[in-house]
Amino acid sequence: MRPPVQCLFYIALTLSTAAVEAAIPRDAHLEPQVAEHIARALSAVEQTPESGSAWGELGMVYQANGLIGDARTSYTQARRRAPNDYRWHLLSALVEAKPHHVTQRLGEAHARAPDDYALVILYADNLVRTGRLLDSRAFYEHARKLDPGRGYADLGLARLDLLDRSLDQAEAHLQRALLNSPRNGDIHTLLAQVRQRQGNNHAAEQSAWRARSYGPGPRPRHPLLERMRKEGVSSALLQERGRELLAHGDFDTARQLLIRSHDIRPGAETQSDLARVDLAQGRFQQALTRYREVLERKPNNADWLTGAALALVQLGNLEAAEGQLRAALGQQPDHADANEAMGKVCLAGHRHREAAEYLQKTIGLDPTRYRLYHQLGVALENAGDPRNSLAARQKLRTLDPVHAANLRAVARLHLHLGDVRAAATTMRNLMSIHPDDVDVGLQLVQLLATTAEISSPDARDALEIATHLYARRRHDARFADLLAAAFAANARFEDAIRLGKRALTLAGDDPELTRTLSAHLDHYVHREPLRR
């Protein structure tokens, strides 16, 4: 529907005089709210034609709504009126058509805001793309000084080193970048290339695998560009931004934008996006209703069938969910979401072997879902396949070394497979990550004290950790017993007997615990350490 004529404006911007004329557009092909938004920004320019900011804001509205020529003109006016405001130089750069003009504008912006980290990075990246490698190195170095805690400058320097074939230097920069962002797939991608060129095929493949699993890393984005994007008010842009926010977990704002988009241009796509928001925010029945509505229009859409299934899972109707997922997979056997959901439904239904197959397939289809190795480990372990369960968990451990539940499971599986030393190493690793987790400490000391050679380094470690834990839980019989076991493991049987007796005292009226502790005490009296 065309907007009312009185709401439409076509303003010719005359560069020479900067006069502003209002006219009726011929056929602007703009959604009404876009035309109105432009009209408001134009009105501000009409009121303060000498204001650089007003022209700049108008340029942002044009740019965000895809009117690049008008944006370029507006920014030119803004730069003339406010030549020291870096913003209009920066935004001008993004609407220039020729690469050397882009570089020129970015250089002007940088000269006015030399310590703006995101701008420095943007400029340095642009210089690389246009072949000014030496200049770009200086700017990456400057960016690193501005914010040493972010890895992007090191990543940029590593790229330059790679171009120079300075592999060792590139690797050093990448290792430094990894300290700041260990799960940035871009860093691992370059590292894989460095190692490949060094002839280290195994390490190259490991890095490439990490790169695929982690996915692309975040790029520094200038806040001004984010601000400009918010001026985009077409239904398509609102939907796009809504989806981005949904992906980043900002559900409330995503919902607002998607509702606005849907109000302007109702459609099944935005309806299904809103269903995803409902799903994410726990409104499962509403999500299901929306999915059912869109599925009436397109009953074979695998995305929507999967969404409906996810809502049904949350509502406890696993049987119906499975039906929807089978339909989705019938349409698209390689639908990652449907495979993942099916894996989880099978897991919930204790069909562990089947669950493992779906989960394995999901990771293959989308390596960035590497956290599913945890569920895969559960499924394989419950399916009676501890070796492959351990292999899955070891992969997750490589990608996510601080995943506590996974580390516990790795230790447990090592024990199950009879590798006590590997179990102890894993538990030590877990304790170093979670030093205040007394349960971890408890398990580790139990393991060490009951398996280590008497007075061995492992036994001494057990005593040290047990003493540390007992100091925190002096009134808990289990910890006193633990310290007793650690003393015994170090052949300090008098101390073991003393702590064993204290444990008995602390056990109170618990007959089972008392029985266990008495049995332990008998060992110490007979000068024997506990054994698994």
Partner: protein, 496 residues
């Protein structure tokens, strides 16, 4: 998306005929080159009339009978058209085992298991959804990018040698990854004697499937540096050109991309192409291509100066950003049409635009498929471009040659030695060319390779690395002519 084109001698009469994969309303078409130099359409006579949306065309002699068969990729179901040797083709798709539905793009024949029969790789795109709506920033309806659709895993078919094929996508590892694939190249890129597969993906990381020689492929695109550009960005890969642009005797790759991305040149680094590096910046190929959406592309020595130049067929897939609210609505060709590009190699792998006064650049169209051949047998390579929503264009090379030339055909048994790499040694320089039909975007080229000799007055030797890795040297037999080298004979057979 447009469609591809192939230049090949379908009736073995010694001249090059033209096949356009076509799309509605025109449809596919085969043109025979007659003795008077004119092309005559013979689609129906040849049995190649088809309904529906055609995409690509792959050439290969699947039964080693000396004539070229066609594999036609399509939006719904692919077709294998067997050349009967009498000027007609028979559709043997179902009998041969090609039953899979889905949208295929490029395809490439090569012998992955070195059993002497050509196997087939088929790149596949997305699951189309006609209900999906997309718009420009201002809300104008536009074509959707591929990432809004689910993508399909590619397929690999093993030739059983009896005219039928087995789908080995899963056991080979190829089927493990899904991506919207458009360009495909099958050649031994790491020089270990086994055919590898490079796939240009649209908006996701490219795949480089390295053949382990035992039936397995692993994607080494990331570690070998061709999955993304230098910035780690997955680009909109369309067409592929392959050739040695920097004279290091290892093949390099060039990929065309969408506007606002640069086209990308990957050059080999390290022994036996251990890795590749994004050399776009140093090559000068970045900025000139950025305003355009590149599709078909090829390396060729346009003026016979001894280095590989580059041609790129362009045509938008998304609306350009509007200049102004005042801008009048544009027509379809105005929105999507673009000029093509010729990039001239300085000889040191640095390229500059060489478009002045050239019809190839001047004609604005929605160009897609492109391929090269010496169709008029005058010693230089010519071009043909398939345009979407417009007539195809044939460009005769009228550039004044600055050097001599040599055309070499490597023959293994009754057919071209697809997968071989030919080295031509002339004064102070070695040039290499891959023997492959798969090229460019959705297109195929003749298997004979063309060398410009520059200032060299003669050729010292021709060395062929055959599929499987065996190397054979042949004595040169003159210049400015076509020669054939036959496996096992170790000698050249000249022809006028």
């Amino acid at each position: 998306m447009g469609a591809g084109v192939a230049w090949f001698d379908y009736d073995n009469d010694g001249d090059l005929d033209l096949y356009f994969a076509g799309s509605p309303p025109r449809g596919a078409a085969l043109f025979r080159r007659n003795a008077d130099g004119r092309y005559e359409e013979i689609t129906a006579t040849a049995g190649l009339v088809s309904q529906g949306q055609g995409m690509g065309v792959a050439l290969g002699d699947i039964d080693n009978d000396g004539d070229l068969d066609l594999f036609l990729t399509r939006v719904h179901r692919d077709r294998l058209m067997r050349n009967n040797g009498d000027g007609t083709f028979t559709d043997t798709s179902l009998d041969a085992g090609f039953t899979a539905a889905g949208w295929s793009s490029s395809a490439a024949f090569c012998d992955i298991d070195t059993d002497g029969y050509l196997d087939l790789f088929v790149a596949r795109y997305v699951v189309p959804d006609t209900h999906q709506r997309c718009s420009t920033e201002g809300g104008t309806p536009d074509y959707c990018p591929p990432n809004v659709y689910p993508s399909l895993p590619d397929r690999l078919y093993q030739n059983r040698g009896d005219g039928t094929f087995t789908d080995i996508s899963t056991e080979s590892g190829i089927g493990a990854l899904s991506a919207p694939a458009l360009g495909a190249l099958c050649h031994d890129l790491n020089q270990d004697g086994h055919a590898d597969i490079f796939v240009a993906n649209d908006g996701t990381a490219n795949h480089l499937w390295i053949n382990d020689g035992e039936g397995g492929f692993t994607d080494q695109g990331v570690r070998r540096g061709v999955a993304t550009n230098l910035f780690g960005e997955a680009e909109a890969g369309m067409g592929i050109a392959v050739g040695d642009v920097n004279h290091d005797e290892v093949l390099d790759l060039f990929l065309t991309h969408i506007d606002r991305e640069s086209n990308t040149l990957y050059v080999s680094v390290g022994a036996q192409a251990r890795a590749m590096a994004d050399a776009t910046i140093a090559s000068g190929l970045g900025p000139p291509g950025m305003p355009f959406t590149g599709f078909g592309t090829a390396f060729l020595d346009i003026e016979h100066d001894g280095d590989l130049d580059l041609v790129i067929a362009n045509g938008r897939v998304r609306r350009p950003a509007r200049e102004s609210v005042a801008q009048s609505p544009l027509t379809f060709p105005q929105i999507y049409g673009e000029q093509n590009l010729i990039m001239e190699n300085s000889g040191r792998a640095h390229f500059t635009v060489r478009c002045e006064g050239d019809d190839f650049c001047r004609n604005v169209g929605i160009s897609r498929g492109l391929t090269t051949a010496d169709f008029d047998a005058d010693g230089d390579l010519d071009l043909v471009v398939a345009n979407a929503h417009g007539a195809a264009r044939l460009y005769a090379n009228v550039t004044r040659a600055t050097g001599n030339w040599l055309r070499v055909r490597a023959v293994d048994g009754h057919r071209d030695a697809i997968g071989a790499t030919i080295s031509m040694l002339s004064t102070g320089r070695t040039q290499i060319r891959p023997v492959t039909h798969s090229a460019s975007y959705l297109s195929s080229r003749e298997a004979a390779v063309h060398f410009g000799l520059g200032s060299a007055p003669s050729v010292e030797a021709i060395v062929v690395m055959w599929p499987g890795g065996q190397i054979e040297q042949f004595e040169a037999a003159g210049i400015n002519r076509q020669v054939s080298v036959r496996r096992g004979l170790g000698e050249t057979a000249g022809s006028e």
